[in-house]
């Protein structure tokens, strides 16, 4: 079925290193992708998004890469900090119609080692 998933449930990195979180999607009709960060007890917080007509988009310390050929999405976090510890979700949707709820993957728990 159509789904968005993540390759690893847990990712452990050293403080100061770069983190890469991967995501695979299967709906080729999706044209919008978004990354959220969710800390314990809080709702998902927007990090960065990208439309399907782009391959790369950069924010502050974060970069999202989109490879439509293999339906793969990744989130890169530069110089990881303790405050980056959270569960990261990718989500996708198809824009242009009225119904545009997001389809989420299961999430990757990012753990920052001191």
């Amino acid at each position: 079925g159509e789904s968005v998933g993540l390759h690893l449930p847990t990712l452990s990195v050293q403080e100061g290193d770069n983190s890469i979180i991967n995501c695979a999607y299967s709906n080729s009709a999706s044209d919008y992708f978004i990354w959220y960060k969710q800390e314990s007890g809080k709702g998902p917080q927007f990090i960065i998004d990208i439309r399907s007509n782009m391959d790369k988009r950069q924010g502050q310390r974060v970069t999202v890469l989109l490879n439509k050929t293999v339906k793969h999405l990744s989130l890169q976090i530069a110089a990881t900090q303790p405050g980056d510890s959270a569960v990261y979700f990718c989500a996708e949707k198809r824009t242009g119609g009225g119904a545009d709820g997001l389809t989420f993957g299961k999430g990757t728990h990012l753990i920052i080692q001191p």
Binding site: Y36, G43, G101
Partner: protein, 113 residues
């Protein structure tokens, strides 16, 4: 700018009881969503409103779940009767017209015993 407000933050009920959750979206956001997030999973869409009309409720278990947004601003999600498997965090999100980003509230954590 105030974010999406939800209440209560926590609710504990027994199975077969009823429960209601409330959401007030970001001011001016016409589109409102309810998601269910079971522990260890990503959020799953339950229903989408545009103003006071339902856009998508295809994943809403309509035999027990209902939602309304009568005046096109705040919204209520109800479960009647609750089952054990309804234990989850219920998230509300809103989006401005012409924009893609959905902003989420902190959620209501429901435990059904």
């Amino acid at each position: 700018e105030a974010g999406v407000a939800q209440s209560p933050r926590y609710k504990i009920i027994e199975k077969r009881q009823s429960v209601a959750f409330w959401c007030n979206p970001i001011s001016g956001h016409a589109t409102l969503y309810w998601y269910q997030q079971i522990l260890g999973q990503g959020p799953k869409l339950l229903i989408q409103f545009q103003n006071n009309g339902v856009v998508d409720d295809s994943q809403l278990p309509k035999d027990r779940f209902s939602a309304e947004r009568l005046k096109g601003v705040d919204s209520t999600l109800k479960i009647q009767p609750a089952k054990l498997e309804d234990s989850a965090v219920y998230l509300c999100a809103s989006r401005a017209n012409g924009r893609n980003i959905q902003y989420f509230g902190a959620g209501t954590r429901l435990s059904v015993l």
